[in-house]
Each structure stands twice: as C-alpha cells, then as structure tokens.
Subunit: 92 residues, 4 copies
Amino acid sequence: MKATAEIQVIPIGVGVSVRQYVKKAHETLAASGLNVQLHAFGTNVEGDLDDILAAVKRVHEVLHADGVVRVTSSVKIGTRTDKEPSLAAKLF
Amino acid sequence: MKATAEIQVIPIGVGVSVRQYVKKAHETLAASGLNVQLHAFGTNVEGDLDDILAAVKRVHEVLHADGVVRVTSSVKIGTRTDKEPSLAAKLF
Amino acid sequence: MKATAEIQVIPIGVGVSVRQYVKKAHETLAASGLNVQLHAFGTNVEGDLDDILAAVKRVHEVLHADGVVRVTSSVKIGTRTDKEPSLAAKLF
Amino acid sequence: MKATAEIQVIPIGVGVSVRQYVKKAHETLAASGLNVQLHAFGTNVEGDLDDILAAVKRVHEVLHADGVVRVTSSVKIGTRTDKEPSLAAKLF
C-alpha cells in the first residue's frame, strides 16, 4: 500500500539545540530510499507504507544510538484507494 | 523497543459522521494486543514499537476494506532508553 | 464559536524529565475555565475557540516564565456547524 | 511573542477531494500577513503568536462560511526565549 507521510522528530534531553539530531533524522529517512521533501516542521515522504513505518522506527533507533535518551516523533500518514497517493498531488 | 503512542484516525470522504470508522479503528488497535486507552482525540497505546506500527497499518487496511476512500492518521510515538516507557508514567 | 481541542506540550532544553512542566501546562489549561480532560498524550479541552487559543498562548508564556527556553505545542482543533462540538460526543 | 507554526487543515464531510478547501485555508493564512511556506502536509508560518492564532481561527471561520460542516486543524507551535524563532533557522 502506497502512502504519503510527514515525519517530525523531537529529541528530548539533549539541550536546547537539536539541529544535529533533526538533521540525522532527515538523513536517515533520505537514506531509506523514500522520496523525501524537507521543510521547516519535518520531512514529507512518499513510498510504500511498510518502508515508511520501517524508516520511522529506524529514526528512533539511530537517534538513541547517538545518545538521545528520549525521542518523540509525530507522524501523519495518508492513504487512499481511488488513486495513487503522491506528495505532488497534495499541492495546488 | 518498547514505546508509547497516540493514534488518531480521520476518515475522509464518508460524510460528516465518522463515528463508526473511528470506533472500528479503536477496536482494531484493541484487538492487536496492545495496551489501549481511548480518549476523545484518539487511542493511546503502549507496547512493542513493531506491534504499534503494524497496528497502525492494519487500521488503514481495515478502514479501506470498509469502504473509506481516504484515511489520514496522526501518530505520536515516544521511546526512551533510561527506563521502560509507559502510559501510566506520563500522567502525574 | 465553540470547539474541542487537544493540547500537547513538549518543553525542550530542560532535560529528560519534563513532568513538572507538562503538569504546569495542564494546570494552566484547567485554570482557564475550559472543560479539561487529561490523558497520557495531552489535555483535551472543550470551550470557546477564543478561550482555547488564549489558553494555548498562556501555556507558552507560563512555561517560558518558569525558565523553559523552548516550548513546542501540538494543538488539534475541531469545529462544526451542524451541532455543538463536545468531547463527550467524540467517544462512542 | 514571536513564533513559528505549522497549520494543517482537514475538511470533513465535503467528499474525497478537499483540494479547494485546503487551498482556501492556505490563502487565508497568506492573506493574514504572516510569512507563509506551503508544503504537502500544511502551511508553515512565522510571525507574532497572536496573529498566528487569529489566522487559525479565521481559517475555521472561512471554511465554515464556504459550507464545510466539520473542520479539523492540526497546529504545531514553537516559541523560544534564547533567540527569535524563524522558519529559516529550522532548516540545516
């Protein structure tokens, strides 16, 4: 099942500046083979839902491996049966 | 990896009343074996992250099988390495 | 205009344990006169949309006054014209 | 108090295609004088928090005036006291 999604990650307990971890999260998503679009509040992705969910899990794992004690992610997922979901089709 | 999560589902294209589909989504999560807590804006769950992500996918599948053309979910996931995450510990 | 809403607050830069600030956020919402319902991923509220938005702003102000450098909130708002929105009606 | 925010709007009860309403929501935000950046999962904005919250309310009002029975919005707000928040600074 193909899906579009938005993934935002908030590392907790690593201080006020979280830039390096947010960057790492985005790179992890990009390395997963999904079509990714970075914006100021997260990364939009397009691809197979299984791959998207696996990438979300990997982001949590990678940040914990980098020493982040708490990781909170906010994920919005869109699926539809009338046509193939795409990020491009969500713009106007 | 254990996690806590909140799952909200919004069925699109089935009219103004979405109650039956939101109920179905909650029942799908409850049937997955996760610890679930229903509230007015979603279902909070606690369990293995793999099981949580599989349950999210199943919710999309079940609602599409019920005829919902578009399904949007909003999922918040929390993981931590210092202690086992739990819904109870998030209250005060 | 009456609305239902869910308000989740994530304080950033105050360490791994954010409990005292999340508690303060909930108390600020409760003190605003809105109908509030606490759960593990936030506080659900019901009331006038103006009052809800003012309370969200107050939460940011109060946490900053308590020394939190960065405050992120996630707010979901529901309004409808066919009947008065209520938290109770969102359960089944 | 200056803030950055992301605003996503989901019209419920107007059928499967919600494009015209999402476009209207974005235009309402843009017309509010805030700095806006459109992406596939919402509109990111930067400006005074009072103006942002007023714009969110206006989006609900405008869509209801256009005949949308139910409007759900998802708003993420970021404020900080160490420097002026900006959308540009959230990218890397």
